[in-house]
């Protein structure tokens, strides 16, 4: 089937090209789906594709605030969500209107154009590109595209700064710069959160409550390490490495910058950081704070650009260490290109985390955990719980409740404080999600999507689940990096662990049970770097994070996160 916008399971293109009544395997789908729960009760694995709802007038999004989707019901008490009958009271598809609660954007300061931040100064680059709001497709600003020469200038500035005092500075003083940065970020958290949501598409609730506080906490945490490194690694003296080249992804733009910068700087390294091309703004704003905190020039350099800029940084001979967070494919390329060098590297790559639900789990809490695991940040999370492994005896119940819960998710304007699922980060990512979802259908997994209406403009994808998945299906094996959950069942803990471990990845995993001993046993069996028990997608600066197997090398966060930035002698 050609990849026409009208055929994607995503409702994203619906406003442009209404599709015909959806058909699947020759069975006519329901024209109007009233509730997810009802369908679910009849056939939990039925995989009904949502039929298009009755058309509403085409959305006309305003700048920074696309029309609010029509899915916000009156607040639903959690126990009501748990009962499928209660879920039927609300018709989320047809749309009960609710009052939008958009975060205002009038208080943010955003320039039309940004240069590169090199040696403490803003430098113009020859090439430039635009960064857009994925929820509205409007241009937010123009930024520089750093070429080889720019990268060289940045690395040289970083080297000069390293040798010019930062590397030898007493840890106590270095730490104070980082404390300053943490404070400045806290003070301007709201502004940064709004920009983060505009540039990346993530719900303001998440950028406000998670990205920003965690980013500040990371600087605060590692600031305190700067003068205590001699206690971190017994029997060893710790020395900085020199210049660190850091390449970060678009899913948590500012938070990933903090994860990279904070430990590197605390350990006495200087940095050249490259933000992702679709989300450069908060890193550039962070450069403003670096200047305000009066860091010595060249300690932090920010070069924007795409893959070529990153490659120039990786290949620059005067870089001592590469830290990369991104896809496994690119991570492998980086590892390969560093093969002949003495550069150190850490890689935080993809994942395909299994969220394992046992029959003795707190069911409603687990359903919330599943939702948080896969729909948090539109599923643009390397450690997302993108596979659900549910014990057979409770599978029907879990899937029924999950569908009911999914119908209540608010999908739409990232700046609306009610929004649960925001915009897909870019058109490229949306295409990739669609492609993989299509492969899931082709391979025989059963697709089901919640019935929210999606804004007309921007990039969107409906919360999606696949049931009846085989271990070999691409939707089970490959990272989709979108709001798509593959569901499998199991009978015994051993089977759960075996299925969970049966992908090339090993970043994270979840286990839900009331039994503490089972948590330890299952966690131990999982080949994954982070295990969440009765919770998911929790992060903390004190908690080391990183993958086994093809999910990466090295740890970020906590004491172990210092190691990749130190020479231990």
């Amino acid at each position: 089937m050609p990849e026409g916008p009208a055929e994607g399971p995503a409702g994203a293109a619906r406003a442009k090209a209404p599709k015909k009544t959806a058909k699947r395997d020759g069975k006519p789908a329901k024209v109007v789906k009233k509730t997810g729960a009802k369908g679910a009760r009849k056939s939990p694995k039925g995989g009904k594709k949502m039929a298009p709802p009755a058309k509403r007038p085409a959305a006309k999004p305003k700048r920074g605030a696309p029309e609010a989707p029509a899915a916000k019901p009156a607040p639903v008490p959690p126990e009501a969500v748990a009962k499928p009958d209660d879920a039927e009271r609300f018709d989320f598809v047809r749309g009960e209107s609710y009052a939008p609660a958009p975060e205002s954007t009038d208080h943010i300061s955003l320039q039309d154009s940004y240069g590169l931040f090199i040696g403490g100064e803003w430098v113009k680059s020859r090439k430039r590109f635009q960064t857009t709001n994925p929820a509205t497709e409007e241009v937010l600003a123009e930024v520089g595209e750093a070429g080889k020469g720019d990268v060289h200038r940045a690395v040289t500035a970083a080297r000069d700064a390293f040798e010019g005092g930062w590397g030898d500075m007493p840890g106590r003083e270095r730490g104070k710069y980082l404390f300053r940065l943490a404070r400045l970020l806290q003070e301007r958290a709201r502004e940064f959160a709004v920009i983060e949501s505009m540039d990346g598409g993530k719900p303001i609730r998440e950028s406000r409550d998670i990205d920003l506080p965690l980013a500040a906490a990371h600087f605060f945490y590692y600031a305190g390490w700067a003068d205590k490194l001699e206690y971190a690694f017994p029997g060893r003296d710790a020395y900085p490495l020199g210049v660190a080249g850091q390449i970060i992804p678009w899913n948590f733009p500012l938070l990933m910058a903090a994860w990279k910068l904070a430990p590197a700087l605390a350990c006495g390294n200087t940095v050249v950081l490259k933000p992702a091309e679709t989300t450069p703004l908060t890193a550039l704003k962070l450069a403003e704070l670096v200047a305000e905190a009066e860091f010595p020039p060249g300690v932090v350099n920010i070069v924007t650009g795409a893959g070529e800029t990153g490659q120039a940084l990786v290949e620059h001979p005067d870089v001592d260490k590469i830290a990369f967070t991104g896809s496994t494919a690119v991570g492998k390329m980086i590892q390969k290109s560093l093969a002949g060098t003495e550069k150190r590297y850490t890689l935080e790559l993809g994942g395909k985390a299994a969220n394992i639900i046992f029959d003795d789990a707190p069911i409603d809490q687990a359903v919330e955990g599943i939702v948080n695991g896969i729909f948090f940040n539109q599923g643009h999370v390397c450690c997302a719980g993108s596979r659900l492994l549910v014990q057979e005896s409770i599978a029907d119940t879990i899937i029924r409740k999950l569908k009911a819960r999914m119908e209540t998710l608010v999908v739409g304007d990232p700046l609306d404080k009610n929004t649960d699922v925001g915009a897909i980060n870019s058109r490229e990512q949306l295409d990739r999600i669609r492609k993989l979802v299509k492969s899931g259908e082709k391979e025989g997994a059963c697709l089901w999507q919640s019935g929210q209406d999606l804004p007309g403009k921007g990039f969107w994808f409906k919360p999606t689940i696949f049931t009846a998945c085989a271990q070999s299906h691409r939707v089970v094996q490959e990272e989709i990096f979108g709001p798509v959950l593959a569901i499998q069942t199991f009978r015994t803990p051993e089977e759960a662990v075996e299925k969970a471990n049966n992908t090339p990845y090993g970043l994270s995993g979840g286990v839900w049970t009331d039994k503490g001993s089972k948590i330890f046993e299952v966690s131990k069996g999982m080949r994954a770097g982070v295990m969440w028990a009765n919770t998911f997608n929790k992060f903390d600066p004190a908690s080391p994070f990183g993958g086994y197997k093809e999910s990466g090398i090295g740890r970020e966060g906590g004491l172990h996160g210092l190691m990749p930035y130190l020479d231990l002698e």
Partner: protein, 282 residues
């Protein structure tokens, strides 16, 4: 008439057994006087792959053995080695060492196994952390075995070099596939006999003899090997191996062609840190 000595056939060590190479190939190892020491098995790609299968199979049992048991077994290796010291000295001398150097190497190897035996239930405490997260969770990070480790042992040191590679890999719960020194392979197979009689489960250690330039690319590119240790100063071969290692994001540990130092950080080099968030509440 003086007694005719019975000389040993040196074979491979895979899955707790001593097979000849499936390829039937060999290379001649000669002593200083030109006397034939052995027709050494020239291990093949298929031998390597079988060794990886054996290592993978043995891994869960070894990784989940108690730290105390692993320590007991490593100490047992030291005991067995001590008891057969003169045999190792003879082999080292035959392969070119002076007898003083050979005796020194054997005692150093025995002491190294004792040293690492003691780490078995201690390195976890040194490298673990309990992390004070800002939520009601008991959050801790601890090291776990990386998995199957492939290693090119130091060429320059037949026994101590090999021991210094094996002990830190084994004590951390990994299983290993190791290519022995090409010019000093005899102690490797004799060490395998020591391991075999020390309750090291079959498959935890697999020893191959043969040519690094032939086997290293297959080891580095093998998708079921989690980590490789290269005690080699051949920059070109190491680069090629590291490129192949990227295909499944292997952890690559580079060391000189010399025995590794006794160091708990060498254990850590073959560990993954796992962080667990355990709920707290009533």
């Amino acid at each position: 008439m003086s007694r005719i000595t019975v000389s040993k056939t040196y074979k491979l060590y895979i899955g707790g057994k001593f097979p000849r190479t499936e390829s039937g190939r060999y290379y001649k190892l000669k002593g200083r006087s030109g006397k034939l020491l052995a027709d050494v098995s020239r291990g093949s790609r298929k031998d390597l792959r079988e060794a990886v299968v054996a290592a993978r199979k043995a891994l869960p049992g070894w990784a989940n053995a108690t730290a105390y048991l692993r320590g007991q077994i490593l100490y047992r290796v030291a005991e067995m080695l001590e008891g057969r010291a003169s045999q190792f000295v003879d082999e080292l001398v035959a392969q070119g060492s002076t007898s003083a150097a050979a005796r020194k190497e054997v005692t150093a190897a025995v002491d190294l196994w004792v040293h690492y035996a003691g780490w078995s239930d201690k390195f976890q405490a040194v490298f673990s952390s309990v992390n004070p997260v800002a939520s009601p969770h008991f959050n801790f990070s601890r090291p776990e075995e990386t998995g199957v480790v492939g290693a090119i042992a130091p060429e320059s040191s037949g026994l101590l070099g090999l021991s210094s590679v094996l002990a830190p890999i084994m004590v951390g719960g990994n299983s290993a596939v190791v290519l022995a020194s090409r010019k000093r392979p005899l102690c490797a197979i004799t060490l395998a006999e020591v391991l075999n009689s020390s309750d090291v489960p079959g498959g935890v250690v697999n020893l191959l003899t043969g040519f690094a330039d032939e086997l290293l690319p297959h080891m580095a590119g093998h998708m079921d090997v989690n980590s490789i240790l290269l005690c080699s100063e051949d920059a070109k071969a190491c680069k090629a191996a590291r490129e192949l290692a990227s295909e499944n994001v292997k952890r690559v540990v580079l060391r000189d062609d010399a025995p590794l130092e006794e160091d708990p950080y060498e254990i850590l080099a073959f560990q993954e840190i796992k962080t667990t968030w355990h709920p707290v509440g009533v």
